[in-house]
């Protein structure tokens, strides 16, 4: 079982991100479970969301204490010590224009497998707004290989309607390509 924690801000769509991830994993034939950090989400305040992926139905209902993977929608969140509990050698995927090395140094992320991708600039380009929750899933797929790009695309496609559908799918693909 893999446990993943997303960090974002109230209003940024972290819950939508884990939902899409869980749907995508299921499309890949896996079992999944996604849930927000329970509680009132105030616009602007730091929030978390979670996802579990496994080969069989997930019975476990505890919170996630030692995630395997961290997804950070906002670089500035690294300032408030969000790596707590992340397994040794665990993966961190950060929306940032900085390089993994720079980020590792700046926020003391040594010992983790750090990846960064500038989702923001692509989101502004493609969606016309700094909404990075879907885009970063492209990076997730690429970096972790845990969920296929196709499934992320399909799940994203289901989630949105109108022109947001196409744009978000586009963003996912673009970020997938960028990420490494």
């Amino acid at each position: 079982m893999k446990e993943i924690r997303f960090h974002g801000r109230g209003g940024q769509g972290s819950v939508t991100a884990v939902e899409i991830l869980a749907v995508a994993a299921f499309k890949d034939g896996k079992y999944s479970q996604a849930f927000p950090k329970f509680g009132p989400e105030r616009r602007g305040a730091p929030v978390e969301a979670y996802c579990r992926i496994d080969d069989k139905f997930i019975n476990l209902r505890t919170q996630i204490y030692e995630p395997d993977i961290l997804v950070v929608l906002n670089e500035s969140l690294l300032e408030i010590g969000i790596t707590k509990g992340l397994k040794k050698g665990g993966t961190i995927i950060i929306n940032s224009s900085k390089s993994p090395e720079e980020l590792t140094k700046q926020y003391g992320l040594n010992g983790f497998d750090v990846h960064s991708v500038d989702v923001t600039s692509k989101a502004v380009e493609i969606l016309g707004a700094n909404i990075v929750n879907t885009g970063i899933l492209g990076a997730f797929s690429k970096v972790t290989g845990l969920v296929s790009l196709n499934s992320i695309i399909a799940a994203t496609d289901e989630k949105f309607s109108g022109d947001l559908k196409e744009k978000n799918v586009n963003l996912v693909k673009t970020v997938y390509e960028m990420a490494k």
């Binding site: 939902e19 749907v23 999944s32 479970q33 996604a34 849930f35 997930i58 019975n59 476990l60 505890t62």
Partner: protein
């Protein structure tokens, strides 16, 4: 079709397939996603119902019962303070024998105010004539909902049903759920066929005033209906398995890893999943007895299942202040084995795998006693 959905939305969907004609709801965390989705379905014309934005839960339950009394299915959902504010009306609904089905996204009763999960909202309603089911996961709640209508509306029962889901822990979780087709749902639940309704062509009055000369018999009849409900639950559950292929034990209780186990943990709701997870990893001497139907209480079933066990534990997310764990006391009053009572998970206090391990160790000690789980005090 099996898909990953938020459990609240799955509830809205299955309720919508049953097709209530009137929905009267008042928002309260963590019930909101259920009724919001229903209001969307109505706004989109996908569900042909009146959606009433009532001004309180007291009125939510009242409008629901008023509508149901007209011979249609009516729906509401709530939690915590909302359920508490319905308290007065809940017992009226049961007393007037209106088989309303509702969902409660269990959340702690204030004070302190809090929005997280425990059972302090639904437990005070355990005397009042509502059947109470506790669901383990999304699939469980969907299936239980479908069965609930059949059980409630059975003419030997005619009692309302409260389906409890742990707030947030279930209500806000996305997971894979097999959602039955609308036709299959409709076929299974059938038409609502009340004995009496408000009808200008066949005049009846609902809501009498009883005196010492005749009141007690009304309660005795409710008691008999509750007892009759046990059989109805069993047969509906069996029929459900036949039609939909999913097993929910005998409808009253389910077991896990109990064959050959020396001990058992008795509990309800979503925490069963965590216990299963832990057992799957490393345990074979402890089994689970999951109570599906808290009311009617599975008295005979518990006696039968605990026969031969060396000890049991009861885990519950509620405390009766000045008494102890209320479920543990009920269990203790019927089973012969030593019963260790654990209370924890209050208002969303996470019950961790460490806690589970500790609980199992304690049960193995074969003692009776009481313990807080996850306490930070001392």
């Amino acid at each position: 079709m099996k898909k990953v959905v938020e459990i609240s939305h799955a509830i809205a969907e299955v309720v919508s397939k049953v097709g209530p004609k009137v929905i009267a709801a008042y928002p309260i965390t963590p019930q909101t996603h259920i009724v919001e989705r229903l209001s969307e379905l109505v706004a989109n014309g996908e569900l042909d119902a009146e959606y009433l934005n009532v001004e309180s839960e007291h009125s939510a339950m009242s409008a629901t019962m008023g509508a149901q009394a007209c011979g249609v299915r009516a729906y509401t959902a709530t939690a915590s303070q909302g359920l508490a504010l319905m308290h007065e009306v809940l017992s009226v609904v049961a007393g007037e024998r209106l088989p309303v089905v509702i969902h409660v996204a269990n959340r702690t009763l204030s004070a302190p105010l809090t929005i997280w999960n425990d059972w302090s909202d639904s437990f005070p309603e355990r005397d009042n004539g509502w059947l109470q089911f506790y669901a383990e996961n999304g699939q469980d709640v969907v299936d239980t909902t479908i069965m609930a209508y059949r059980i409630a509306e059975n003419h030997n029962v005619l009692l309302p049903v409260m389906i409890n889901i742990d707030g947030f822990i279930l209500s806000h979780v996305y997971e894979p759920i097999d959602m039955p087709d609308t036709k299959d749902v409709k076929d299974f639940v059938g038409e609502y066929n009340p004995i009496v309704k408000l009808d200008v062509n066949d005049v009846h009055t609902i809501g009498e005033y009883a005196t010492p000369d005749n009141f007690q018999e009304f309660k005795e009849e409710q008691w008999n209906a509750m007892m009759a409900a046990k059989d109805v639950i069993k047969s509906v559950t069996a029929e459900f398995k036949e039609k939909f292929g999913r097993d929910h034990g005998d409808g009253l209780v389910e077991t896990y890893n109990l064959d050959g186990a020396k001990h058992a943990i008795i509990t309800m709701g979503s925490i069963v999943g965590t216990f299963k997870h832990f057992i799957d990893q490393e345990v074979d001497d402890v089994g689970i007895i999951k109570i599906r139907s808290f009311r009617p209480f599975p008295r005979e079933e518990l006696i039968e299942l605990t026969k031969g066990l060396e000890s049991v534990g009861v885990f519950e997310k509620v405390i009766s202040l000045g008494l102890g764990g209320p479920l543990a006391h009920e269990v203790r009053s019927v089973v012969k084995t030593p019963v260790m009572s654990f209370v924890g998970g209050l208002s969303g206090r996470d019950v961790t795998l460490n806690d589970v391990s500790h609980i199992f160790d304690k049960i193995r000690e074969k003692k009776s006693g009481f313990e807080w789980i996850g306490s930070k005090l001392k």
